[in-house]
Structures are given as structure tokens and as C-alpha cells.
Symmetry: C2
Subunit: 142 residues, 2 copies
């Protein structure tokens, strides 16, 4: 499942964007929707990887048994998405470049798995090194 | 400023959608972007009033001095948006139909103002009464 999110991140990078991808799966591992950060490509600050995947999955009756897989720990915005819609499980590629709201999600009962994947770490670390201003804009750092 | 958000909510209602609207202003009261919930209209569960207004405002260098005005207290998803992007002030039309994450935002230093506007309360209460399933879907209640 992480490979789907990484594929999305790589699409984003190829488009000139921030390489963060995500995918939402149902309990049987069926893909509901995937997406990636589109801040640069669409000039859309609301399109983080997780929110883009959530959007592309369309309307769902319940998220309790769904699994959000993302290349990077979700920020407060995306952690809030997970909490509000009661997404049961979050699998993250890494937390080294950004820790996000994972402890908060654990504290409210979300099942969190950190894969600590070297490819995910390297992909984003290189982007941040080369594009610090865009990265800071994406996480609301002035 | 609340009138802009209420106008957006009424557009949403006229489109057959959930009547929640929002608007983002700069420190001088200049409108940066406004929007409304588009779950029903666009089949887009990611488009809450606040996220739609944030999206329509486009990329901004800093949100510290911006003001998010919304007809309803922001849910966890939209509260997370406010926290991540350090939006300094949130003005809400009402908290009676939904309390959202306002206490959490206050605890991290966001300036929160609750207008407790009867028009906002009535507009959403009537929608919830007539469309309980759509409302519950919008706040992730199974």
C-alpha cells in the first residue's frame, strides 16, 4: 500500500511539486482513492497528499475501517481530517522530515503505523534541501 | 465579515448543499477568498466551508494576521487547518449546532470570537432537521 503513496509522491515531483503522496484503502485493501500534494501545480494550498486522496475517494458512508497511507506523517490539518472522519488506521512512510500530529492521533485511538521507509525519507529530504521556501509555505512556517 | 460567510452558506443552500460558508480576510479586512461546503454539489467530502475559502484564497506567505470567518464552529479537520497554518483569528457565527475544536484552538493561542448569530443557528438547524443523513456524513458520524 505504501508503494501507491510513493508512486503519487513521485508523480508530484515530476510535475514540479512537493513529493508527498497518499492513498485511502478499505478494510480489504481495495484502493478508494489516491492523491498528492498540488500546492505548486494547482496553486492550491488545501491540496495536501492526504486531503487529495480523501477527495479523490469521493463520498463514503463510514471511514472507520479505512486505512490512510501517506509518505509523510500528517500535519495538523491532515491529522484533523483523520480525527473528524474517524479514519481507523494511518500508515506513514516516515516521521523524520516532519513529525505531524501522530501522538495526538494515537491519544484518540487511531491505529498508527510508522514504516520508517528510507525511500520516503530521502525523497522529501532532497526536496526540502532544494526548495526550503516552498516547504515552509506548505507547513505554514513564516 | 460574517455577512460574507452567510452569503456563501446561502449560495450553498440554493445549490442543494449544506449551508455552511466561510471567508478569509487579511488584517485590513480585505477579502482573500470565500467559499462554502460542496459535499453534495461536487461530491467532494474535502470541501468544507473553511477549506474551500482557504483554497480560493490561493497561496499566501503567512496566515498569522489573517482572519477566518465561518458560519459554524470549525470541525477537527478545519481546526487543524487553522492550527497548521497559524491563522491568528477565527470568528464563528455559532457553536450551537456543532461545537467543533474551538477550545483546542484557544488552548494553542488562536483568538476565537463566537458571535452566536441567530440567523446562522437557524439556517443550519433547519438543514440538519431536514437532512440528517447528509449532515452526519459531513461530520463523520456513522
Amino acid at each position: 500500500m505504501l508503494a501507491v503513496a510513493v508512486h503519487e509522491a513521485r508523480i508530484g515531483l515530476a510535475e514540479g511539486g512537493i513529493p508527498i503522496g497518499a492513498a485511502l484503502f478499505d478494510a480489504d485493501g481495495r484502493l478508494l482513492g489516491s492523491g498528492h500534494n498540488r500546492r505548486v501545480q494547482h496553486g492550491d494550498p488545501s491540496a495536501h497528499g492526504e486531503t487529495d486522496a480523501f477527495r479523490n475517494a469521493g463520498r463514503q458512508r463510514s471511514y472507520r475501517d479505512t486505512i490512510m497511507v501517506t509518505t509523510l506523517a500528517p500535519c495538523w490539518y491532515c491529522s484533523g481530517l483523520v480525527r473528524q472522519f474517524n479514519i481507523g488506521t494511518v500508515i506513514v512512510g516516515e516521521t523524520r522530515n516532519f513529525a505531524g500530529g501522530l501522538d495526538w492521533l494515537r491519544s484518540v485511538g487511531v491505529n498508527v503505523v510508522d514504516i520508517d521507509d528510507p525511500e520516503c525519507v530521502k525523497l522529501l529530504a532532497e526536496y526540502i534541501r532544494d526548495n526550503p521556501a516552498v516547504w515552509n509555505e506548505d507547513i505554514g512556517e513564516g
